[in-house]
């Protein structure tokens, strides 16, 4: 039975559990995630790298939703053109989302995958949660 599982391991690591980092609404409806360190990750990753990741994500989302000169200009221009520019132009928010996707991919490769974890981009969960998948900790060398 152990041989069967390790053969599957080489194809697809088994998912042990998932942790969900919920949204933090203390500042209103802006997209912000809680930085509280979940206990399930204690054995896998330190508090500091985790908090850094979440804080960077929060900062990136704040940048996307920032009310400032640039976003007002974009909004006014859109209003004058009856919002048709949204059909041809990529909005500031979408540009930042791409930046976030690159950051998450980068973090997964460098920090989370070596520890058997996987971050899911929150946009794939409707910006509700940051889903962290914990894979079963099986040493790779024990196969066959």
């Amino acid at each position: 039975m152990a041989e069967t599982h390790s053969l599957q391991d080489l194809q697809q690591p088994a998912v042990s559990s998932k942790v969900f980092i919920q949204r933090d609404y203390s500042s209103g409806t802006i997209c912000k995630f809680q930085t509280k360190f979940p206990s399930e990750l204690e054995s896998r990753i330190g508090k500091q790298p985790f908090e850094e990741t979440i804080q960077t994500l929060n900062n990136l989302y704040a940048e996307a939703e920032k009310l400032g000169g640039k976003s007002y200009l974009e909004g006014c221009l859109a209003c004058l053109t009856a919002y048709t520019i949204f059909l041809c132009m990529e909005t500031h928010y979408e540009k930042v989302l791409k930046k976030i996707a690159r950051y998450i991919k980068d973090q997964n490769e460098k920090v989370y995958a070596p520890r058997g974890l996987l971050l899911t981009d929150p946009i794939e969960r409707g910006l509700r949660v940051v889903e962290i998948t914990i894979f079963e900790d099986r040493s790779i060398g024990s196969g066959r």
Partner: protein, 405 residues
Amino acid sequence: MKNCEYQQIDPQALPTPTPTPPPHHGNDRDEKEQPRRPRRKWEVFPGKNRFFCQGRIIVARQSGVLPLTLGLILVTSGLFFIFDCPFLVRHLTSCIPVVGGVLFIFVVITLLQTSFTDPGILPRATPDEAADIEKQIDNTGNTSYRPPPRTKEVLINQQVVKLKYCFTCKMFRPPRTSHCSLCDNCVERFDHHCPWVGNCVGKRNYRFFYTFIVSLSFLTAFIFGCVTTHLALRAQGGKGLVFALQESPGSAVELVICFFSVWSILGLSGFHTYLVASNLTTNEDIKGSWSGKSGEDVTNPYSHRNIFVNCCSVLCGPMPPSLIDRRGFLPTDESAQTGSADIEVPALAAKSEINVVGGSSQLTIGLQEPFSHAPTPSQLPPNLFLNLTEALLLAVALTQSAAWC
């Protein structure tokens, strides 16, 4: 011992449908009936919406009176350009059709954008998320058999806000989000469901809606003014109103339409201008969430305390993205999770399968809304052909829905 485990890894090796768990059975039939084509997420969207242009356009299932709205606007504007503009260009100025034209284009474009844009629909929670939330709720020590409506309190800008749990979408609704029963979706910054545009008005399309009603009030008032001027000019010289109306019958129709609609549209524009300036939604205003009626010291925690900033943030703020990713492809390994909604698609294949799949699709809808629509055998269509595999599907589905309850 090794052989029996590997059916999960390679379902394509199975020659005939055997009594295997439903997701794999669905995959088998998918591959047998039609070549596996990657499906987009809009095809399995659980809400009551309709999609056009391969998921690019989204509308509510009931289009309400959108055709009427569009028809009234087109007819009134058409009559204006045909009957009134030539006269007014001759007697006044040629700016009139230009202004009218610009307003008309604005109105139509913003109307279509309001109707066809995703208002800010929140995708439903994945099964894992829902289970996690249920676990957290149970941990808070609720021991009664039928738990009371679930709420969670958060502090937003020193104001206590209650977040309600949505039984359909299986998540705690973010602040200002409401579940629209007509569209069966949770919509962010839910304003109201507008039958005139046939869609919900929410975070993503509020600015289109506001521009629509403001430009429509300008257009209506403009046409009303022009028609009145036209008729007054024609009736000059003692000819009388009746004579003027006989000469230009289209103007009479416009007059009636504009007269009755200008007051309500102007009123609506004024009301929404107030809402924009105080960063409120119609939903909150109607419920009196922040008006302090209950005697508590409540203020709107989302307001920026500055009318200009409120207006800018609502109308000119960054455009949030659509969260439902309509045109994204379904990942093949997750198609089992999105349900047995997949079983609906092979219904196109063979007629003999349709009855069976029709029954299954009713079961799948039941699975997604266990609290309100638990499937019972009496709800299944009478022509459901139950062979061994479908009986197994039914048993599994009923067991799963019982587990959710």
